[in-house]
Subunit: 312 residues, 6 copies
């Protein structure tokens, strides 16, 4: 099969059944694509505004505006990679544990066919089972590049260990990630307390706060980023790393965040040898009136695809 | 304490900390009020659009427009009843079973102080633990008056027995309600299948469909309603019984529904000797742009309060 | 000048500077039109949601959809009447008394040129100075046809006699209207108390509640309406007479209201010998997301124009 | 292939790539389905608010709430019919004539495989090429059942013969429909003039106005409807036949319209021997904030499918 | 009493009656809190879009997301300060002078108990009576730090001296502020004319325009700010100092404004010895669709609280 | 006639029939104004979201907030220039070629009276006929300053040469512009392919990408801009040059764009000897919920007017 998007010059962009980037649908995980994109429509781990279960659908809708040629890199992602829309991973809206198992199994199956993948959440709780699958399959901890306004090392809440603010704490405690090769980008306060921060510091995971990023030019900051040469690397992109002006449609927005331009510069400055996949989470359609949050999420997918295309 | 609302003629209606009907807050369940209104901000049982966890807050906001004199009945509810805002029942957003236990305990405590109560959901799953508490306290099954577009006798979904479409099935199976003295009002199709319908019929619970209501005048229909003379009676009011034009802000709207006028006529025609409480569920603020759904929910609370006031 | 609207068949309806019904602008009140329409963008008398100061602008915008041929009456209002857009009456947003004086003077000037007029409010407080002008010019009390969800006989609030809920009380107390030839249509509860009701009853102004209207067919109700043969008659149309489903964009909506179809039937059933003018008030653009409230207001203007055209 | 929808009890309804009623996609028009549903995302014939090119996408999104069991008829449409989502017909957003040709060819191909079909517009101009294809294939004029607020017999505008307000005039002038066996339902004023009306009357096409429908009970009206025994019959359903309260998301709304309940009763009362297809047009997502218009359109599709299922 | 917020880890953040930062309500001004936060729901001084009377309610709603630990300062405001929600100051929606008196008395009473305070407006006219109270109580003019897009030295409009664009002119003319120790931050054009500007210049109040701020790095700008060592200092924060992308929900937005990040840097760079209070004004909920404006306002409250906490 | 705006200090800004900047309407193109502003409400060239036909109306509405004194330049545009609102150019919504002819004729007539002009689109296809008129009247190619996220050199789509993404290609191919004196500002990817880029490069039109602008300070960038000393110069301003956070209301938004502050700096840095006119295009009201996009467009008009005023 030709894994290329429907052309907007032939069929108007608002036409047709909506898929990610207007790409063909793969009915099986072992078809001959390189990268599969799938949705994980789950918001059962949400502590404030729910509704990001509708994000895969809105991102597919906005994919109509997706184009493939990356001006800075000088190539089209669709010429370098065979990309497919895999549909959505099955989830259970009211059962986090069952959902975790389903996501883990889904990713394990993709990995068994040697596929790269990107997913569109869902709330940030979905990243934990993805990391579990990666660790189980690859046998080594993963380098994590974590874009977020929040540390996501929160303790249990209302008696529940697992929720959308604790995925990183569990990932660290379960040994899923290689902390010394992992970074956070864009975190900022206010915090509920200092414990979350101390946890990150204790594990020597490098947190680049918004102040770290903005006390110099964005180009200078990008030059400070570590490289990810050894081991597999995974990117998790929480849309609330962006300023609410750029991403109003999210569940727990925090003012004082990054712009989409800054994020693009950071993505383009990342040096990653073995990128295995990534996700975009926490897009909340019901608060995304003009769909600019979904477009920002689509752009993050595009940048991740262009990173996956580098070594092809 | 004087359990009367802040007057809109003294303090403008948009002013002040928002409580139900601008009523005083009761900090304890054993204060000297007659009826307590509380929120149950839980949407963990939702199968489609989540977000009704924000309904108690929006209904309190819209309570600014609440007034007390019932034109048809000729009295003010606030002169007949001492009504209090009890705040919200604690829930666990990602754990339905824990939440059920909390709600049941909350209601049991209210009942132990001999209080009447109304609650604002929350999705329709919250009614089950309320009925459990009533049954446990009163020792007899309850007469249920059930306003809804849906039968709510759906089977398990995604391996989960409990969700917002199955509360009635469980209530019947657990013997919580007196089916032969219970009714449904406003149910309509399409259905997922005929099983849900057969379940209701098997248990001899009377379902008044929208066709049953509208094939005569609303006054004639009201005259056909049974009376609720024997035993305790509870009203559960799912806002989607209303037509989407009257209640756009809900999670699973169904066209062809009732108007608020028809609902008022039905409420005013109900003959209930021992009303113990009621709830209003499934208001979804994120889709209630002009707040008319919340206003319709507020009006249902008002009508239930006026029913509670009759025998005072 | 030809007082006819710009044709939608020549210039697309969304084109051009917006005027009421796409009519020509009259720069002076003594030009040769029959009926002048003007805006009164004032919401300084509002007790809850302000913002109806933007109503004249939105109604002009929606006037693009206005057409002139009245199917039931069999003629075009633009063939019978020369109608002009007069622009807006000057008001002072933070001074109700100055505003009253400006409105009264504005209307007196129109009356001095023997013009009929319709206005678009503005909150309902603006009707009082219009009635004062009519009384002052005509020397006799006016028959009032008052569409509203509210009685508008409220007492002083926050120490202020004049606000959008008291215009009718003042009009009666000032002897501006002929109560025994005046009616209210569509009023309904809940009320703040019974005093407002008793005031109306005391003055023998006939209030047709929503129950009075709906306990028979709309045609039967229309036949019960009195005729307005003697004396000058004025219509004030508060958009909240409509159900919130038909008019979500208003400041103090009340559920259980009329439909636009019922209002059309009532307008078409009115028998008025000497209609001097009318107003449409309480349209609130910020809550009128799909502009259906403004369209309903435009339709009320259209029906009033068709009434004014009858004797031409 | 099994042409059945993805079950909401297995995969949550908000999950998966969106198709009409969650049905399988047919990649070719000659697969073994009975009825094909396709989108016609075209609004190039719009005179006021454009944007209904996004309607097929929104109706697919809302199809998540679609269920199959028709309570009144007592069967599931999916058990009687094999229904497929065919994707969208290709159109040219800025060229009405090319688009007409593409639609006509699309339908002709479907007819050549002996398929029934429903389409989701698009503005009302798209119905003309569908009728042309039907006439060309079937060789006889079609009985038309036309739900609409407008007569759609408007003359040329801005020098253009073809637009969304003139499809019926052209269909009649081209001899595509059998006027004496055709009806309009729900038309109402105001009109631009009387010519449009005279055209319909001259061609003896029966127009049931809103007054014709509402001057008796809806059941009585339904009994007055003619039957469609002879010849092929097609239904075109303009969503603006509904009142703006039920369908705020449309381009040229007209107050005083039908409710979804009334439309359901009419659909259920239609007696059609040979229904060949139908369309739902003029849904405008950008003004459909709570998606109730799309849901009303989905329900019309459902009722048409249940009509198609009768003789199976 | 313990003046600490309800924990989001115990009671989900969307639960409960809404107060500022989920803090306890103080029923009397002389309870043992350090800082009282109150609403001033008044928009009677508004020249364009009204509706900021609803701001206190929306800020309380969004306070659910408020957290206390200030990352840059390294402490939690709730550990340093006892903070209370005082409810709303009573106002008269249609009488600016009465409202001024009520606000002044309210603040005087707070000052008599030696309390610090923050308020949430309301339009910017409310700052004048606060400054009057401060001057009356403290006997000395106040240093004013004034964040705003506008100069607020406008002359009388429509014959009215007092409105939301003239508070600063009156404060200067009444001798309420110490001009030479006062600054404006973020002002920008276009202006109605040069008079407003000349007034500020004449009184030697330092205006930092957006150009003054952005022609160097934000850190460099912060270093240029004067210190406020002598005398009492008050901060008034008009949300329209922010760019409309960061604060779309306001009445008179001006493009080319500050980001929330820049505002945070400025707040954190302020050196104030005796901060007596502050306000956040001009948040307009009806235009704040995703609530990001209210969140930005909440953040300004947080920064002001952290400034108040410094010397504790 | 005095060509000055209605003062907001006399008539409240929300009052009156809406014109650009509240300016007088010129009924004829040869009245004694210097600059005419007109609308071109056409979106027939749109490839994705239509609806910018409503932009002239929304910009007029937001013009209420327009002020005249340019702080940086130190003068009021209304004192230097006589500016008029000319109403809208007639267009044909469903016929691009007829529309092109109408626009060209409209501009030619203005030029024949020696007028400067600004227009508010409409989609970007409308700029082509304006450039044709300029070339035809002035006999020389025009220097073009082109603000845009897109290159607008796209090839034919769906068999159509002319659409909103190809105006620049046609302008170049028709010899309408002086490429070597023309620039693009703000263009950015992703692109559909590299062809569009190669076209621009081949014609030696200088494209300043967002990276070109932001790899130095905005002041440094402004200093790099060429001057426009020789020949007539025209500015076309596509609102999507702005970041979606600043301009959510547009049809094909692209993340990573300019801020309104940066645009202001660029406008103020332009050195143009003979500016003949300009346009603002692609404002899409239906997605501009808080009207900040329209305000940004209004500001661009203001900056262009201040450029036109320089040599007066």
């Amino acid at each position: 099969m030709e894994w290329i998007p429907t052309s907007g010059r032939e069929l108007p962009r608002y036409s047709g059944i909506k898929t990610f980037f207007r790409l063909p649908i793969a009915n099986n995980k072992n078809e001959d694509f390189d990268v599969g994109i799938f949705g994980v429509p789950f918001d059962g781990g949400t502590s404030y505004r729910p509704g990001c279960r509708f994000a895969p659908s809105l991102v597919r809708e906005c994919s109509s505006l997706g184009r493939g040629f990356h001006w800075s890199r000088g190539y089209s992602i669709f010429e370098k990679l065979k990309i497919a829309d895999l549909g959505d991973c099955s989830t259970v809206p009211i059962d986090l544990e069952q959902t975790y198992q389903k996501i883990e199994n889904y990713v394990l199956e993709l990995l068994s066919f040697n596929k790269k993948f990107l997913s569109v959440g869902g709330d940030h709780s979905i990243t934990l089972p993805i990391l579990r699958a990666l660790k189980k399959h690859l046998k080594v901890p993963i380098n994590l590049i974590h874009f977020d306004a929040h540390l996501d090392t929160y303790p249990a809440a209302w008696g529940c260990e697992y929720h959308h603010g604790s995925f990183l704490r569990h990932a660290i405690e379960e040994g899923l990630i290689e902390c010394k090769n992992s970074i956070q980008i864009g975190v900022r306060g206010p915090l509920a307390g200092s414990d979350d921060l101390l946890f990150v510091q204790k594990h020597q995971l490098k947190s680049f706060t918004i102040d770290d990023i903005r006390n110099k030019s964005i180009d200078e900051f990008v030059n400070l980023l570590p490289t990810f040469i050894n081991g597999p690397t995974y990117i998790t992109y929480d849309i609330d790393v962006l300023d609410p002006s750029c991403a109003p449609g999210t569940g727990t927005p925090v003012v004082g965040g990054l712009t989409t331009f800054e994020v693009q510069k950071i993505f383009r400055g990342l040096k990653i040898k073995n990128l295995v996949g990534g996700d975009v989470v926490e897009i909340l359609p019901a608060y995304d009136f003009s769909q600019i949050t979904a477009l920002a999420g689509l752009d993050a997918l595009f940048e991740m695809l262009s990173l996956l295309a580098i070594n092809k």
